[in-house]
Symmetry: D2
Subunit: 424 residues, 4 copies
């Protein structure tokens, strides 16, 4: 299913008067609106292929319907999102769930939908049917060299698939760790993991990056072998200049100050990318911005400041991806909400008066510093983001169009009610 451009324009047309009023107001309110609009148009968030189906917990899964049954249908889904919001122009694949049987066809299909291939994701946290050795006790950390070798080769294979599709990054998330005290020899686990990562790193093409993702806990509940930013930074530093730390918002201990971590990783030149989601308790994988939108703003505030200080390009120099699980929402609607939350927050961070903030900081004027940040956060930037979307060819109100066009109903008709997206 596709939504034709003219349809979107029709919907936009109906909202235009109202939109223009709001846009005029906000453009009066902020400095450099045009520059912000351009940045918003440039900013793209990758959609992971596994986020297109209904997620689940260890207690169960309540499927939706019309879920994509193949890589082609996943690309089609993201194409739909991108048609609506023009901010989801990339797809992040997961191997083995998304092995492209014919890379050229897949590339063509993606291009047709305006999508490029973002970071590739390997999987050594599950056993696949027919897999020779089990990852029950870890993969790259494993005491058995043969298991480590299997994990290394899998990652190298993922790179190979990525090269065919034009991706330039590998994200390695290891669930390696332990469930019980005593299970693991921590230093050996670290060294085995480092050695394994080094072998994968050696296979990385010159123009590729490797993202080393960390996570505090789950599915291992006592220790994780890449457990926090400090550990990830140790690995990334030893690996070399193509290795970076990847931050997933849900992968921290309670109350962690993630924005400070982001600032320090940028300072070290080692921040590689981001997995967006939101959470209240653990790695809840909820819709971006649904629980702690101000934290998200503070993170974007550091991202904008820190990237600008290094002369980095917001749109291209870090990997941006959503990584959420859609247990009770239509996945596509959830993704529209998530991308919207990211764009709104990015816009607010762009508004923050950085010169005044810096001055307040130099004066220890804590009250003024707070006022400056909150002034940006309290600004209603919905019209700005909508304008950027419309200028890029998207819908003023993507979710409304999605519903009016009965996208889900149509997908169910096409694909059936009981489909389960590959990998779920």
């Amino acid at each position: 299913m596709t939504i034709e451009k003219y349809k979107i324009e029709e919907y936009n047309h109906q909202l235009m008067q109202e939109h223009q009023r709001k846009l005029d107001f906000i453009k009066d309110e902020v400095n450099g609106a045009e520059e912000i609009l351009q940045k918003l148009m440039d900013f793209q968030v990758a959609i992971p292929s596994w986020a297109l189906g209904t997620g689940g917990t260890r207690f169960g899964r309540f499927g939706g319907g019309g879920e994509p049954r193949s890589l082609e249908e996943k690309i089609e889904d993201i194409g739909l999102l991108h048609a609506l919001n023009q901010s989801s122009g990339a797809i992040s694949l997961h191997i083995p769930w998304d092995i492209p049987e014919n890379a050229n066809n897949i590339k063509a299909l993606a291009a047709q939908n305006g999508l490029r291939f973002d970071a590739m994701n390997s999987n050594t946290f599950q056993d696949q049917p027919g897999q020779q050795l089990s990852y029950k006790f870890g993969s790259m950390q494993h005491v058995d060299k043969a298991v480590r070798r299997q994990a290394i080769e899998h990652n190298i294979e993922v790179i190979k698939y990525g090269v065919e599709l034009g991706s330039t990054a590998l994200t390695v998330w290891l669930s390696d760790g332990s469930c019980f005290p005593g299970q693991l020899h921590f230093r050996r686990a670290f060294q085995n993991t480092l050695d394994s990562l080094q072998q994968v790193y050696a296979a990385l093409p010159d123009n590729w990056k490797m993202f080393v993702e960390y996570k505090a806990f789950e599915p291992n509940f006592y220790s994780t072998t890449v457990g926090d930013w400090g550990q990830s930074l140790l690995y990334a530093t030893r690996l070399g200049e193509k290795a970076y730390t990847l931050v997933d918002l849900g992968h921290h201990l309670p109350n962690a100050n993630i924005e400070q971590i982001v600032a320090l990783l940028l300072m070290e030149g080692k921040l590689g990318g981001f997995h967006f989601n939101d959470s209240k308790y653990g790695d809840d994988d909820l819709t971006v911005g649904s629980i702690k939108p101000y934290q998200l703003f503070l993170i974007f505030n550091e991202l904008v400041e820190g990237m600008d200080a290094r002369g980095m390009n917001h749109a291209t120099d870090l990997g941006w991806m959503i990584d959420a699980s859609h247990n009770v929402k239509d996945p596509l609607e959830d993704l529209l909400q998530s991308v919207e939350a990211i764009m709104l927050t990015y816009a607010q961070a762009l508004l923050a008066d950085r010169k005044m903030l810096n001055e307040a900081q130099l004066q220890n004027d804590v009250v003024a510093a707070q006022e400056i940040l909150q002034a940006a956060f309290r600004t209603d930037v919905r019209a700005l983001v909508a304008e950027a979307r419309m200028r890029a060819g998207g819908a003023l109100k993507p979710l409304a169009v999605y519903r009016k066009e009965k996208v889900r109903e149509n997908l169910i008709k096409q694909r059936g009610l009981k489909t389960v997206a590959t990998g779920l």
Copy 2:
């Protein structure tokens, strides 16, 4: 020091054109703006007398200057706040820090500043000079009946002072608990506390309420005898219909869903009042809305919904108070920011389309429910709150007036640089 009405009007005048533009816009955006404005004008947040000086931690205290040296000067300070924002029309006293030597004079002074006396606060978490028995091992929970008696009598004395001043509520926050396993016999501690509270309750005038505040930890670090809403509700239920639970935002375990607690306490008819602040780790007592503004909105969302369902008056049927500690900010500036955050959030909660929300909930339309709440939260209501303030005689930009009028500099001139507010 006072700020004359005409001064405030002058400042407002300079901002009027800009304000009007914003106000016109937001009035177009929302339904029932006039009704919201009235509610905002009616809503008053009490300022506790101890929040007017620089706070500290166990590691130290970095005093500011010009802190109030007497109850009279505390009233003066709140009078200043109220002159600026017209939303701080109440003061919450703490005994023994604020014993009124001449109640009539104090009442007259308060009235002159437009202030009424909110809930009275007792203190059995510290030993006062000359106090006969120590609260080192608790007060109302104490194994020694004489200590309990002393605590009971202190509370009855606090009621007496309150009656003289026209207050109608007693807030009992007990730090009672234990630091080590084994220290306390939990059931006995509960029963002693209940018995003590009952004796205080018996001395409560007919038109008074008693608020039983709970706190998860600190200053006791193993157990607290009124440790969560469940315990507070047990006490309040046994005490009788004049006893209620008081919620302080910083008094919970990590990740607690406070808005659900609020909803349930309203359901039970047992929510009595609120202590506003914000926090990241524990009872950090930071400026309201400075860390988790969306959580504050969700709480106000339940407050508005739940109070309306019971036909309660937002302005008068619950006790609203700020309870924060100002370690690195000018306390008065911090309070202006806190009240502003409360008013903005209350306004946003009033905007939420409750009918549509209810419908979405009945349809299990999770996406729509989120859209409705976020639409309210993303609305920039600063002009509405400013308008309400101005209509009531306050300043469009209280903090700016405070700074332009050099209030702190003047207070320092008057009171000196090294003053320490009583109780700190």
Copy 3:
């Protein structure tokens, strides 16, 4: 597979000399050793039918082998455990995973293995194949009366199965709650749930108990409708005297003082039962005693003290069950470790000098109180627990016998390597 009594006796015989030396020592150390031994022999912990297979997380499951393929085989497995430790003499069934096709046969089989039927568990947190209405948005809280009715009827059916088997309790764990702010109307959810529970309660036989289990989060990640002990107590109180709160050690917010909750629930006469496990981050469902053994001791300390104060029988007046997930261990070995940890901790709690503790508490002698508790905890009671086990007909070292008898290898031979226990 069964382990013959004479085999166990043979193994015990080999260890007897060493055991006797340790036993003599510990009997010299403690007062009332014989009484403690009797209590240990009386104490039985129920095994839930779902704990006999390898558990998993939302990321995957690494199966073991030889898992029970039927209710009969589950009973056989628990029979094996009980033969070894003589402390696992009860089974807790889950419907629909364990529907007994012929109750009489199942009862006979259980009796043959020395097992009785502990609390029955209903399941409205998953959709079963062929189920008419979905629990995606809750069961007893659901806005749709028909869904609530379905959940009520399911619970009544579970009671019916339980009656046939001789069980006398129903455990209701509801995963009902919400994943996003706005999704749920909290009060309505509470009232719907209460109403549903009341209808199930009405179907409860006179000699039955209903356990209302609470959980802070997961699988819902924003709110849970029976979220903490305070909420559970509200339900249990409204339901009536046959309704009780059930405590699962992993179902709390970080840092909760569970032992205080236990003491208060006993005070209220509303503690019904226990689900044992251990955890570091959330509901990690790890082996009992593997992470925080001292917390377990403090809980048992309150259980013993509180039950004794009410004249309750330790062995029979509360429901004791293990509820863990065995992701990286052989489930039967894990259960042997869990039961062992429970018995050791119970023994230590029985040792604590309650008279001296009470005296220390009355003197506020915090140091002495800690000494008394730690003296009990630091005592090596392994020989006591082993002796109790042996006297009851079990093995001095159950785990060693399990391994020497190659139980798992035999079960794999019998049942195959790829079996998956029903319900997993």
Copy 4:
């Protein structure tokens, strides 16, 4: 006050028969008892000078009595502890609370009490009377170079005092950080801090170490500039080979796996020392081993394993110190309990069968690995620790002697009831 050797011997004599019985038993139980006894005798834990008086919280302080009024009296107190347990043979001073007016006299007094001077502690988290510039907004992170210079010079002065006394380490704990979003420019704060530390490092004598302590939060409640082990390691690495990370057990986010951090820091050759205490919620500074004794065991397990792997001397190659606050206990009793807990745990860690553990780990035998660790932890090693103490000239039961000798009563007689230890 001092306790004469012969007194201690008399008390020991009375307990000898009972002790011998227990000792014989445990010596039969464990391998290499004599070697363990020697290690226990060698192991010394430094007492910080500020732990000798009653601590407090921001809510108040409930003084004890007989607190030391001078550095001399502090040394006397630690001398008492050391006479009793022979494991507290070092003192850790804090400047400016403990400025030695005559270093030679102080050194002689310490030597007389069998004490050496452990790490020196600087203080830039408070303003001292007469101090020129304030640390309200940080010290080494401060935007004002003059404040940083003052902090640097203070640390250099602390080194100077330490050199005079024979100390060889400086512990730098910075409370630097921020209370509100926006207050701090994170990268600048880091760079200023690094630069300041480098200047202190430059003044470090060749045989000295610098310990960079980290803390997650408090007294700053939004960010801390040396906030976690990752940040501390960054500083320590840039500073050079004399700089190390110092771990305080209470300075982590909830649920942190501290033992893994310890293992990794040892792997990096950057673990410098330890501050022992215990906690449930935050930096509660409770008695060591009073809340999570098994966590302490797991940490010691990594310490022993990791130090042995590097050929480090347990007794001398890391800095061991207690850092607790005694709010409700007699400080000296609390310290006796803390040292006892450390020695017991160290003994248990020494017992663990490392060869079998390593084998279990190499086999992924999680069950066996847990059994091995728990076997050590469940062993009652009190007689071993008591024996080591007695052999070194200390008391079998230090706390009992302390009470029987009425130490506190005597100190109160000598020093008065209302003394407050310097620094509190």
